[in-house]
C-alpha cells in the first residue's frame, strides 16, 4: 500500500513538475516572444506588404503591386549600388578572411609576446565604425594623409583615394582590412583546437609543412572558416557607415552601397514603399548567398564527429 501511494505520488509529482516546467519555460520566454512578434516578425511582414505600396508617412498608401520592384530593376542608381555592394562584399570578405587566417597562423606558432601581438591586431575591432572612418578619412587625405606621404617616399604620386571615383571603393576595402581582428581571434581559437596528435601522425607519415597545412589545418579549420565567411558576408552586404561618413556615397556614386541607397530613399525622400522593396531585395540576396554557401558546405567543410545537440 505504501508502495502504491508513493507510486501515485511519484506520478503526480512528475506530472505537476512537467506542467510547471512548461509554464516556467514559456514564462521565461515571454519577453522574447513578445519582442519577437512586435519588433521582428510583425515589422518583417509589414515591410513585405509595404514593398507593394507607394507609401510615405503623410499621404494615403497606394497599392502598386510589383511596381516598386519593377522600378527598382530599371533604376540605374539602384543597379549601381547593387554592383558596388557585390564588389565590396566579394573582394573585402575573401581578402579579410585570408589576412585574418594568415595572422592567426603566425600567432599560433608559439611566438613570444603572443598577448601583445594579439592585442595589436585585435584593437581596431574594438572601436566604432565611425571612429575608424574618421581616422581613415585623414589617412587617405591626398595631401597630408599617411598613405600618400608614405608613397611619396618611394617616389609614387598617390591617387586622391576617397576623392577619386576609381579609388574610393578600393579605399574602403583597404580600410576594412584594418578591422579583421575579430576574425583573426576566431581563427586563432580554431587553430588551437586542432589536436596536435594529427600533426604528429602526419609528420610520421612524412608530410611536409605545406601538406600538413592543406591536409590537416585547412580541413580541421573549415567549420571556423565557413562560419566566419558567412557572418562576414552578411555584414559586408550591409556596409553603410564607411561610405555614409567618408564619401557620402560619392564621388560620382562610386561608393553608394545598397543600404545607403535604402537610407536615402527612406529617410531623405520618405519613399517607404520603395525603400522596403530595396530592403527585401537585399534580404533575398543575403538569404540566397547564405543558403548557397550552406548547401555547398558539405563539399568542403569537414566536421569531426557529430554536432552535439545538448
Amino acid at each position: 500500500m505504501a508502495a502504491r501511494s508513493s507510486l501515485a505520488d511519484f506520478v503526480k509529482r512528475r506530472f505537476t513538475q512537467r506542467t510547471e516546467d512548461i509554464l516556467t519555460a514559456y514564462l521565461c520566454l515571454l519577453p522574447w516572444i513578445i519582442g519577437f512578434l512586435a519588433f521582428t516578425l510583425g515589422p518583417l511582414v509589414f515591410s513585405l506588404v509595404l514593398s507593394f505600396f507607394q507609401a510615405d508617412l503623410f499621404t494615403r498608401n497606394i497599392f502598386v503591386g510589383f511596381g516598386n520592384y519593377i522600378d527598382l530593376v530599371q533604376d540605374p542608381l539602384f543597379l549601381k549600388s547593387l554592383r558596388i555592394t557585390a564588389v565590396y562584399a566579394f573582394v573585402s570578405v575573401p581578402l579579410g578572411a585570408a589576412t585574418a587566417l594568415a595572422v592567426a597562423l603566425l600567432l599560433n606558432q608559439k611566438v613570444v609576446g603572443l598577448g601583445v601581438w594579439r592585442t595589436v591586431y585585435y584593437l581596431p575591432s574594438v572601436i566604432s565604425g565611425v571612429a575608424v572612418a574618421v581616422l581613415w578619412m585623414q589617412i587617405f587625405n591626398p595631401r597630408m594623409g599617411l598613405i600618400n606621404n608614405a608613397l611619396k617616399v618611394v617616389g609614387i604620386e598617390g591617387p586622391s583615394w576617397i576623392f577619386d571615383s576609381t579609388w574610393a571603393l578600393p579605399s574602403l576595402i583597404i580600410m576594412s582590412l584594418w578591422a579583421v581582428g575579430a576574425n583573426m581571434l576566431l581563427y586563432l581559437a580554431g587553430l588551437q583546437g586542432i589536436p596536435t596528435h594529427l600533426y604528429e601522425a602526419a609528420k610520421i607519415d612524412g608530410a611536409n609543412v605545406g601538406r600538413r597545412f592543406w591536409h590537416v589545418t585547412i580541413p580541421m579549420l573549415s567549420p571556423t572558416i565557413f562560419f566566419n565567411v558567412v557572418i562576414s558576408l552578411i555584414a559586408a552586404f550591409q556596409f553603410f557607415t564607411q561610405s555614409f561618413i567618408m564619401t557620402n556615397g560619392g564621388p560620382n556614386n562610386s561608393t553608394l552601397s545598397m543600404v545607403l541607397f535604402l537610407y536615402r530613399k527612406a529617410f531623405q525622400q520618405t519613399r517607404f514603399g520603395y525603400a522596403s522593396a530595396v530592403a527585401w531585395v537585399l534580404f533575398a540576396i543575403i538569404i540566397c548567398f547564405t543558403l548557397l554557401f550552406i548547401r555547398s558546405s558539405s563539399l568542403w567543410v569537414y566536421y569531426a564527429g557529430e554536432e552535439r545537440d545538448e
Binding site: D21, P43, F46, L106, V130, V134, Q138, R143, K152
Partner: protein, 290 residues
C-alpha cells in the same frame, strides 16, 4: 659517428638554438604586420597634438616638438562632448540591463527545460541573428513614430528589454557547459525551476554575464545606424553621432577631429584592456560552438 655524445650534442644544439632562430624568423614576420596595424593609431595620436601648420607639413613630423594637449580640451568644449558622453553611457547602460534581464530568462528556458516547441523557437532565435536589420527598419520607424518615440532614447532601449538573439545564444551555450546534475539535485530537494536559475546557475555563470554585458556595452557604445535614424536633436546624440556632427561643422581642424576620435574610443579600449580575458573567451565561445 653515432656516439651517445654526438646525439646528445646535436639534440642539445637543436633544443637551445633552433627555437631562438625560429622566434627571430617568426618575429620578422609578425613585426611588419603589427606595425602596419599600429601605425594608424600612432598617426592619430601624433596628429591630435599638432598645430595647424605642422599638420600640413610634408614629409610629416611624427613627434610634434610641442604636443598640444590643449587641443583635447578645446575640441571637447567646442563639440558638446560631455553631453554625448553622458548620453552614450545612459543608452549603453540601459541596453546592458535590458539585455541581461530578458536574455538570461530565455537562455535558461532553452538550455534547461524541456517543453514543446523548444527546438523550433531556438531555430527562430538563431535565424533572427542572420536577419539584416534593414528589413524591419522602416516598419519599426513607422511604429515608433506613431508612438511618438522619434527623437527619444526609447527606440534605442525598449526593444532590448525583450531579449537579444546573440546574448540568448551565448548564455545558452554557457548554461549547457554547467552540469545538469546540480539542477537535478536542487529540484529533488524541492527547489523550483526559477530557484535553480537564480540560486545555482547564475552564481556559476558570472563570467558569462560579464561577457554579455561587456559585448553589449561596447556594441551600444559604437552603434551608429540606429541613433542616426531615430535621433534628431544634438542634445540626445551619443558619441558616434556627435563625432559625425563634429566633422560636419564647417572647417573643423583635423587635430581637433583626431583628438575627439581618440576620446570617443577611450571607453571601448579601456573596457577591452580591463576585461581582455572575458572578451576573448566570449568571442571564442560564440564563434566555435556555432
Amino acid at each position: 659517428m653515432n656516439s651517445v655524445l654526438d646525439i646528445a650534442f646535436t639534440s642539445n644544439i637543436k633544443r637551445v638554438w633552433h627555437p631562438v632562430f625560429r622566434q627571430f624568423g617568426l618575429l620578422a614576420l609578425v613585426l611588419p604586420g603589427a606595425s602596419l596595424f599600429l601605425i594608424p593609431w600612432l598617426w592619430m595620436l601624433s596628429t591630435a597634438g599638432k598645430d595647424t601648420a605642422l599638420i600640413w607639413k610634408t614629409p610629416p613630423v611624427w613627434i610634434p616638438p610641442v604636443y598640444h594637449w590643449d587641443n583635447f580640451i578645446k575640441a571637447w568644449l567646442q563639440g558638446d562632448f560631455a553631453v554625448y558622453y553622458l548620453n552614450t553611457f545612459y543608452i549603453s547602460g540601459m541596453n546592458v540591463i535590458g539585455i541581461l534581464i530578458s536574455s538570461v530568462l530565455a537562455a535558461y528556458a532553452f538550455a534547461r527545460i524541456r517543453f514543446p516547441g523548444r527546438d523550433i523557437l531556438f531555430i527562430v532565435v538563431l535565424s533572427t541573428m542572420m536577419l539584416p536589420r534593414q528589413v524591419t527598419l522602416i516598419p519599426l520607424y513607422m511604429i515608433f513614430s506613431e508612438l511618438g518615440w522619434i527623437n527619444t532614447f526609447k527606440p534605442l532601449i525598449v526593444p532590448l528589454f525583450f531579449g537579444d538573439a546573440f546574448s540568448i545564444f551565448l548564455l545558452r551555450q554557457f548554461f549547457l557547459t554547467i552540469s545538469r546534475e546540480l539542477d537535478d539535485a536542487a529540484l529533488i530537494d524541492g527547489c523550483r525551476r526559477l530557484g535553480v536559475l537564480f540560486r545555482i546557475l547564475l552564481p556559476l555563470t558570472k563570467p558569462a554575464l560579464a561577457v554579455v554585458a561587456i559585448f553589449n556595452f561596447t556594441w551600444a557604445w559604437n552603434e551608429f545606424f540606429t541613433p542616426l535614424i531615430y535621433l534628431d536633436s544634438p542634445k540626445l546624440f551619443p558619441i558616434t553621432l556627435g563625432l559625425h556632427r563634429f566633422i560636419g561643422r564647417a572647417q573643423i581642424d583635423i587635430q581637433f577631429l583626431m583628438a575627439m576620435t581618440i576620446v570617443s574610443t577611450l571607453i571601448p579600449i579601456g573596457i577591452f584592456f580591463l576585461t581582455q580575458r572575458y572578451f576573448i573567451q566570449g568571442i571564442v565561445i560564440t564563434g566555435i560552438k556555432g
